[in-house]
């Protein structure tokens, strides 16, 4: 009884908002409301893995988000709405039925995902939204549709475009793309809903800013286009990474040192990522003068048809397999460098992990697992040790300081499940494994392989930055292994992702 009366109240508010929208007869508003039949509510049950006990997951949680119907019977939403989903349903406004849905593609670097619904009834009465051709301008009035907290029915808020900027997408924690900042209210539950201008979708609401008011962020149309183009071949490759770190050349002494003539502007490369596309074609000290014909200013910006944007934005529009052309000032002469943009395969970038389970391998109660951002997050900041700090260092400086060399991932002894065979192993917990039984460790699978060959009856494990070795009796480990797994409730002594099992 209580519940239904609450629902009635929420309905009244939602209805009021919509009526108000119609009454103003603003062209933007009426066009936006025409889209509303395509805006769906997403009900998700998700569960995140516990990276400190990698064989199990946390509590299942329920959340809702928004999405909208696009062509080819798909629903577009945020990747963060459907990440780690165990059960997924979608619901249209005014329709009591919930339809089971599944994720077809998720781009965690750009926080976008597509869903599909098998039941053909679902798409009846919906029509795919129309995307705008270009970004809206500052001060354009936009409408945000979705299912935010505070009610059940579709909600609509309105504001103006405050800023188009380049910013970090918090879902992956490392990627930067264009963002559309609006002053319309964007609240939890709005995620995945369309941002509409003149009846066309110009963006997708995705994140807010803590401690700030009237700042909501949307993923703008170029990023959405990039994602939809990328998955046309049924594979999501992600954004190519140039991997050239640059600093500006505003300092006259630096310009002189680079022998850069007065009339040339650009930015100087000071580090090339070994996994980036630029590796092999661009080197330290190269001055990037222009990108695909657009001159680069001394502060790294380019003029893109009247918009001053950072040069990286031009790369945003490229797909893996395409290339980008730079005019480069190298050793006192100008040259053209064409950089083929490769599909990124960088195990040391440390994006947040989704829709995957942590790999692990247990040997005598010693739990080994690859270093991940998720694992680092489980550690207590108040009890920093040399070992836990070293994990942060290896994560941040893996490439810059060459720590990655000879490795495909960093394998960490993440915990000791106390047992008589491993009593003296505590000082090694959170150490980065370099060698097991004399074998250099490149991946977690190497630990498993090396465990088959104890040295004189002992497993000997060496760690980065530690002079001491961890030694356990191989025969005792063999005897204890089964009971350790049983006592600590570990269903399997290992988990390797598909294709990684040795």
């Amino acid at each position: 009884m209580m519940k239904s009366s609450l629902n009635a109240g929420a309905l009244a508010v939602a209805g009021g908002v919509l009526l108000f929208g119609l009454a103003t007869r603003s062209p933007a508003a009426s066009a936006a409301t025409a889209i509303r039949s395509s805006v769906v509510k997403i009900h998700v049950t998700f569960q995140s893995d516990d990276y400190s006990l990698p064989w199990q997951s946390g509590q299942p949680m329920i959340a809702t988000g928004s999405g909208f119907v696009i062509e080819k019977r798909r629903i577009l939403t945020n990747a963060h709405v459907v990440s780690n989903a165990r059960f997924l349903q979608v619901q249209k406004d005014g329709d009591p039925r919930r339809y089971e849905a599944k994720v077809t593609f998720a781009g965690h670097d750009c926080d976008l995902a597509t869903l599909t619904v098998d039941d053909p009834d679902f798409f009846k009465g919906t029509s795919p939204v129309t995307f705008a051709k270009e970004l809206p301008k500052l001060d354009d009035e936009v409408t945000v549709l979705g299912y935010p907290m505070g009610g059940d029915r579709l909600s609509l808020t309105r504001g103006v475009v405050s800023r188009v900027d380049y910013s970090v997408y918090s879902h992956s924690a490392v990627d930067q793309h264009l963002v559309l900042q609006v002053d319309a209210a964007i609240n939890p539950g709005n995620s995945g809903g369309p941002i509409v201008f003149n009846g066309k979708v110009v963006g997708l609401a995705f994140q807010g800013l803590m401690w700030a008011e009237n700042i909501g962020y949307g993923i703008p149309i170029p990023v959405i286009r990039h994602f939809l183009d990328d998955i046309q071949d049924n594979v999501y490759d992600g954004y190519p990474e140039l991997g050239a770190y640059t600093m500006d050349t505003r300092n006259p002494a630096l310009r002189k040192d680079l022998r850069l003539p007065e009339d040339k502007t650009g930015i100087v490369v000071y580090y090339v990522d070994p996994f980036g596309s630029a590796m092999g074609s661009i080197t330290n000290g190269d001055v990037l003068l222009s990108v695909d014909g657009y001159p680069i200013a001394n502060d790294g910006n380019i003029d893109l048809g009247g918009n001053i944007v950072v040069f990286a934005e031009l790369l945003e529009r490229k797909q893996c397999g395409e290339s980008v052309s730079f005019k480069v000032w190298r050793q006192g002469a100008e040259t053209t460098v064409v950089v083929p943009l490769r599909t990124p395969r960088d195990p040391f970038i440390y994006r947040n992990q989704y829709d995957t389970h942590p790999e692990y391998y247990v040997l005598g109660g010693l739990v080994f697992s690859p270093l991940t951002r998720e694992y680092l997050r489980t550690l207590d900041r108040r009890t920093t040790t040399m070992n836990t700090q070293q994990l942060s260092y290896y994560m941040d400086y893996a490439k810059v300081d060459g720590l990655y060399q000879g490795r495909d991932e960093f394998v960490v002894l993440i915990r000791r499940l106390p047992h008589a065979v491993n009593t003296y192993a505590d000082t090694f917990v959170n150490g980065i494994v370099t060698e097991v039984n004399g074998t250099r460790i490149k991946t977690l699978a190497d630990v498993k392989a090396a465990a088959a060959n104890p040295v004189r009856g002992f497993h000997v494990v060496n760690f980065a930055g530690m002079d001491e070795s961890l030694v356990v009796d191989a025969e005792a480990v063999k005897k204890a292994d089964r009971s350790i797994l049983r006592d600590y409730g570990i269903p399997s002594r290992e988990y390797f992702e598909e294709g990684a099992t040795p």
Binding site: K256, D396, Y397
Partner: protein, 510 residues
């Protein structure tokens, strides 16, 4: 510290102390009032707010007063006050050693008759007897408190990352300042250095350390305390003992690494197992049986029983074979480490050129970034400090850093980006300490280019405008000296020792 309840102490006093002994010892205690001021760790040309602390000192000779190093650290003015008087008598620090937390003061103009009595330092103490703690009460009368010894250990000092012989006393007295005297039968047994009022435990610098310190301080030059120069670990794990084939039961510690340039580096190797040190069997936790104090960490055999320069026999197992090696002890200075602690907060060498603030990395600089320093600082330099602060590749090597850039037109384009970066070369010449930096700058006249670790482009300064820029920077940012360089041999005037590792698991240092 809180004031004690007077009635309670008086009762104790009546029971335990003969009046004559009390009068003698009362004439030896002085209050020490210290005004101190530290160097600003971020802007090394200026100082932090001055502060004041009070504690105690004990008259140990003509015009000589013994107190704790922690009390007089960064002192700008030291004054002494007798009981029940208001006059302050100026004093100066003769020698202070932070590795044992002791300092010797010289009283400048002692009015005669002083009424002060020098207290002899005890040479022996029965562990079971009660001792007397002396301090001032609120109206500056001498107050006595009863105490009993409960533990002898090589404990961590309260204000420095070193281990030293320490006696723990159980007392009901609320000690109100460090340096409070502990006496027994008219002799000085020790100085209180810290107190845990909840557990009623006070830590005391005991007479053997005081004897050692005063003997050393009496014969110039001051040599300091000995160390051996290696990192070690306990060797309890039966699996590891079996793997290393150490069959002596319950004996031996494992050598992890030796510090270059020390006696240990000449005769010890990683994976050696030490069975006996200087004639004493060492157990697998690193303890031995001391003839005076019982079970004690073997580091006391180095720091307490020996002097720098002594050669000691060490029985080891290497590759299953036992042998005895002769190890020469040395005095390790804090400055010998790759990253010195600089717990004393001494002025560090620096150079400001074109706004580049160039200095050496120290533990003090890292910790000055607040309680979360391990997280807020660049992880590379934090890792260098936590994982390898002793790991010099060559003697005198330090970590030269670009601590920051004072913004000025000359360094435009570099300003926000570079902070706490490791400098590998100046003007194309590789540098491994500030001495190298000064040498290059003296040769070339200025900093022309800086090479930073893992940054593939040098930071270049315009030489034509540099002189003007430096004058402008000095004026705008109020930098009285753009360069601070210690003179040859000026280092460590106050016996700044090197650091041992912490008490927790993992490697320990001797």
């Amino acid at each position: 510290m809180k004031r004690l309840r007077p009635g309670f102490v008086l009762t104790l006093l009546l029971i335990t102390l003969p009046a004559t002994a009390a009068e003698n010892t009362d004439a030896s205690l002085l209050q020490v009032i210290v005004t101190y001021q530290e160097t600003d760790p971020f802007l090394p040309w200026q100082k932090l707010q001055p502060g004041m602390r009070t504690g105690y000192g004990v008259v140990v000779g003509p015009s000589r007063v013994l107190t704790t190093e922690g009390l007089v650290r960064n002192q700008k003015l030291v004054e002494l006050r007798k009981p029940m008087t208001g006059e302050k008598i100026p004093a100066s620090v003769v020698i202070a050693d932070c590795t044992v937390n002791l300092a010797l003061l010289q009283v400048k103009n002692l009015p005669e008759p002083s009424g002060l009595l020098a207290l002899p330092v005890a040479v022996k103490l029965d562990r079971k007897t009660k001792v007397d703690i002396l301090q001032f009460d609120e109206i500056s009368q001498i107050q006595h408190g009863d105490a009993r010894m409960v533990q002898v250990s090589m404990g961590a000092l309260p204000k420095a990352p070193y281990q030293s012989l320490s006696f723990d006393l159980l007392t009901d007295l609320n000690v109100n300042g460090e340096g409070a005297a502990v006496v027994k039968e008219g002799a000085l047994v020790g100085l209180i250095m810290s107190q845990d009022p909840v557990g009623r435990i006070a830590a005391m610098i005991p007479y053997p350390v005081i004897q050692h310190f005063m003997r050393d301080a009496g014969a110039a030059p001051y040599d300091g305390f000995a160390s051996a120069g290696f990192l070690w670990s306990v060797l309890v794990d039966p699996a590891k003992r079996a793997y290393l084939k150490v069959d002596t039961p319950a004996r031996g510690i494992l050598i992890l690494s030796c510090i270059p340039g020390t006696g240990a580096s000449e005769v010890l190797k990683p994976n050696d197992v030490i069975l006996e040190w200087d004639g004493h069997p060492v157990d697998n936790m690193g303890y031995y049986e001391d003839e005076d104090f019982g079970r004690l960490a073997f580091s006391y055999l180095i720091k307490g029983r020996r002097e720098p320069g002594d050669v000691v026999p060490v029985k080891i197992v290497r590759d299953q074979a036992e042998s005895v090696v002769q190890l020469k002890l040395c005095h390790q200075d804090d400055r010998d480490a790759l990253i010195p602690e600089n717990v004393l907060g001494e002025a560090t060498e620096y150079l400001v050129d074109g706004g580049f603030m160039i200095t050496e990395l120290t533990g003090r600089y890292l910790r000055a970034h607040g309680t979360e320093w391990e997280h807020v600082m660049d992880p590379r330099i934090v890792h260098m400090y936590l994982a390898g602060k002793h790991a010099t590749a060559a003697p005198g090597e330090h970590v030269v850093i670009l601590a920051g850039i004072l913004p000025d037109p000359i360094n435009i384009g570099y300003q926000q980006r570079f902070r706490d970066e490791v400098i590998t070369a100046v003007n194309g010449q590789s540098v491994s300490n500030m001495t190298d930096v000064f040498r290059v700058v003296d040769r070339d006249g200025s900093v022309r280019r800086l090479t930073l670790k893992s940054v593939g482009v040098d930071l270049v300064l315009d030489q034509d405008t540099l002189t003007k820029a430096n004058a402008r920077l000095a004026r705008q940012y109020r930098v009285p000296a753009l360069r601070y360089q210690l003179k040859e041999g000026q280092n460590a005037p106050s016996a700044n020792g090197d650091s041992g590792a912490d008490n927790t698991g993992g490697p320990k240092k001797e």
